[in-house]
Symmetry: C2
Subunit: 179 residues, 2 copies
């Protein structure tokens, strides 16, 4: 049986950071530099956190997010040796549910609906690996937690870190074992 | 820490069977008797399975489903001693995602969004108990699987069976242990 890998969406396969910066500029006329987001909680990196947060509820926010570099190729490669589950804490934003489903269907048609999970708390998701950018998810994972670098987590010193999809694929390949 | 209970939606807290019979009659003019559904796969219990299945894709099918008898009171009671997760294989019907979220918000406002999971395959959901009407979910559960009686599963002889919410509450209460 293949080992299982849970993979987060936002800032892991979907480039929410870039999307958020672009939409903030479009709506409120202020361009935030990616460097200014480093080491801060995501919404607090914007001049007006409430305005920034309001963008998450706008139709299209998740549907139109760009891909993280190399994500599609990486997941195709990982799928050869692992069972992939996409696990997103989408339930906080109910309007994102269908948008996230449709986004996955467009960009990752090789991932079955059976392997998609939209949840809140990820603590009851039991897989061999979890690739995520948030400690709130990684800290409670029963398998091997893998921290995917995002602006907000650059100062975190917990868990094995990967900076991009090339590193993530390499790390998983080191851990292939048929159980 | 409280033990965790995963609870399915369709035919467990939402009365999909009754809803389906009513809508089939409304759309196609044929009233199916509940007795005729006994021991058969759900869609094949209708005169025209394809037509029956088409109803699942109609807007409002899940949003307007009635409650299973005693479900609200039972979950309030269970929540005193257990951490409840609602786990629905909603991903097969993407248009049901928001409908199911809204249905839960209306009927079970005491269940947090953090405790709702919409998925496909439930095998990576790890809880101490799973209450479900389908073997495809129960057979792969790592905790204690509990079969909730539905028309289609009356001839199944696997797992501990509960026939209604009164029995489900009693069974869980016998298994309270603070771990």
């Amino acid at each position: 049986m293949k080992k299982t890998v849970a993979i987060d969406m936002d800032n892991v396969i979907a480039d929410i950071e870039t999307n958020w910066i672009n939409l903030y500029e479009q709506e409120f006329g202020v361009r935030v530099d990616k460097k200014d987001l480093l080491g801060k909680p995501e919404d607090f990196a914007f001049p007006d956190p409430d305005k920034a947060r309001s963008l998450l509820y706008k139709p299209g926010f998740f549907r139109n997010a760009p891909l993280m570099a190399g994500a599609v190729e990486a997941l195709k490669e990982i799928q050869k040796d692992f069972e992939i589950y996409i696990v997103s804490a989408a339930m906080e934003f109910p309007n994102s549910l269908l948008e996230k489903h449709d986004w996955l269907a467009e960009h990752f048609p090789f991932i079955s609906w059976k392997n998609i999970i939209f949840c809140g708390d990820k603590s009851v998701i039991s897989t061999d690996f979890l690739i995520d950018d948030h400690l709130k998810n990684l800290d409670f994972h029963k398998g091997m937690p893998i921290l995917f670098t995002a602006g907000h987590n650059i100062n975190v010193n917990k868990h094995t870190r990967v900076n991009n999809w090339t590193e993530a694929v390499a790390l998983l390949k080191e851990n292939i074992e048929v159980v």
